[in-house]
Amino acid sequence: MHRRISEYVVESLIKLSGLLVIILVFLLFLFLLKDSLSLFGIYPLGKFLFGRHWLPISEPPKFGVVPLFLGSLYVTVGAIIICVPVGVASAMFIAEVAPKALKHVLKSLVEILASIPSVVLGFIGIIWLGPVLRDVLGLTTGMCGLTGSLLLAFMALPTIISISEDAIVSVPRTYKEAAFGLGATRWQALWRVILPSASSGIIAAVMLGIGRVIGETMVAMMVTGNSPVIPKSILSPLRTLTATIAGEMGEAVSGSEHYFALFAVGLVLFVITFIINFIADAFLRRARK
């Protein structure tokens, strides 16, 4: 009897914590939605979603989210193109190729990489990377999407490397042995057998990396120039969703149109990350089948 009660208590506690997460996410969404809807009472939804100008302190203000959305999109896509191949390749090297001593050194270095504060990276971007890119590529300014992409790729690397490496290491040894037994070279075994078996873990790593990049604020705010313009290419200055919220929240008096507009931007960001997670989940499930 006693045992049944304690079992019941533990079971309900676990159930409760599970429910709590769902409730929290739901409440967060409601909170964002409530304040965003206050904006759409005074500012038309269509103009917000498709407006091409973000001029929050003008008279009358314009809250077009398109330039901010494209800014975030450019920076994120750029960062992913840079960090996914490098990250997965490093993971393959650390997990399968590197000698044991080197492996330990590399693993701890990756961990150190993960612990660099983003504001430090932003500072490096302003002082060094921006000017270098400007001179090398002949740009008018180094404060552009590419600088942001490179630094954000750098930030996402540790996530991608360590999770992919875990996925590769956890592929059963027998797979590799069977591949060698069939006469495969080391490369063939790695590329055709181990990598596909670890693919679900690698996709999860990439998705977490994307999450890290799209939500990162400090670096984006410091090095991308923050021009609220529809970017022509990744080499021009742009303004991300996150930097807009961080840069303007301090001065937006609560309850004003500007304040609600920033909540609406937060809602857009929330929806984007939700979709990314949803896609990641779908991929993971397919990989498992």
């Binding site: 100008h53 300014t141 180094g142 120039g225 200055p237 303007e248």
Partner: protein, 293 residues
């Protein structure tokens, strides 16, 4: 702020822990200052001097921009808001609605320096030229006697009082009904220091900031409203011949009391004003004669 007594007690405990006994006649307290990034360094210096005189009053200073300071004054999260522009009627109205009655103090004067890279051959400009550049109507340094380079315009974020002032004076040329905006290509940087860093390394860049930030690493342009060009210095800001001059403010909720009053009085007094002078601003009592001495 409910936190204040707690913080004061904590601060006292900290000091007591250091073996010092507190003289009960010494004023003690905590002052939170938020706002203008333009004068954040100057206010920091003032507070350092202040804490030498009043060792039991603790001063915390945050920058972020005038807008941040005013917003937190309205929401009662700071004792003193520093500002590089006047509060707008709309903001005062909002403050009154929330039971905050801002009291204004002019603490110093400032000229907004327009700065370029040291190797830029352009030395002077009119307000009209600046208007063309910052609204995107002129895009090449050639038009102003410079090199054949695309102009990169730098501005502060929208929370900056300097941004607002520059927008009114240069972008909209002081016309109330103007709807002109900064060119969308303008980079919006988060601090005055970030503008200095970019200008110091980019020959094509032009930006603006409080004259306290001018150093040998960058070059400040001579400006003219009409024909006569003037540099941004103490003399021309005082005489108002430099076209982009403005006062800098402190705002408090009603008449300041306690520690906040001590601080405001100190900042307005000779020792405080000396710090404004040393950080590159124009102190209140300054006259041209003083400067010549």
């Amino acid at each position: 702020m409910k936190l204040k007594p707690v913080l004061t007690v904590l601060a006292m405990l900290l000091l007591a822990g250091c073996g010092k006994s507190i003289d009960p006649n010494e004023p003690a307290g905590f002052v939170q200052i938020k706002g203008s990034d333009t004068i954040v360094n100057a206010v920091q210096k003032v507070s350092e001097e202040f804490m030498k005189d009043y060792p039991y009053v603790f001063v915390a200073i945050t920058g972020g921009g005038t807008g941040v300071g005013i917003a937190s004054l309205i929401s009662k999260t700071c004792d003193v808001a520093s500002a590089s522009r006047e509060m707008k009627p709309k903001e005062i109205q909002l403050a009154n609605q929330r039971g905050v009655f801002p009291k204004e103090f002019v603490v110093a004067y400032d000229g907004i320096a327009v700065i370029v890279h040291k190797d830029n051959p352009v030395n002077k400009m009119t307000i009209g030229d600046l208007h063309k550049i910052f609204t995107g109507k002129a895009t090449n340094w050639k038009e102003f006697g410079g090199k054949d380079l695309r102009i990169v315009t730098l501005s502060r974020e929208v929370s900056s009082g300097t941004h607002m002032y520059f927008k009114e004076e240069v972008i909209q040329l002081s016309k109330k009904d103007s709807t002109e905006e900064f060119s969308a290509q303008t980079l919006l940087l988060t601090s005055s220091q970030a503008i200095v860093e970019e200008i110091a390394t980019n020959e094509a860049a032009i930006g603006y900031l409080g004259m306290g930030y001018v150093s040998e690493r960058i070059k400040a342009l001579l400006l003219a409203k009409d024909e006569q060009f003037y540099p941004p210095d103490v003399e021309n800001v005082l005489k108002k011949t430099y076209p982009l001059s403005r006062p800098l403010y402190f705002y408090t909720n009603g008449e300041p009391t306690g520690a906040a009053k001590l601080f405001v009085d100190f900042a307005l007094g000779p020792k405080g004003q000396q710090q404004f002078k040393e950080t590159g601003f124009v102190p209140l009592g300054a006259t041209i004669a003083q400067k010549d001495q």
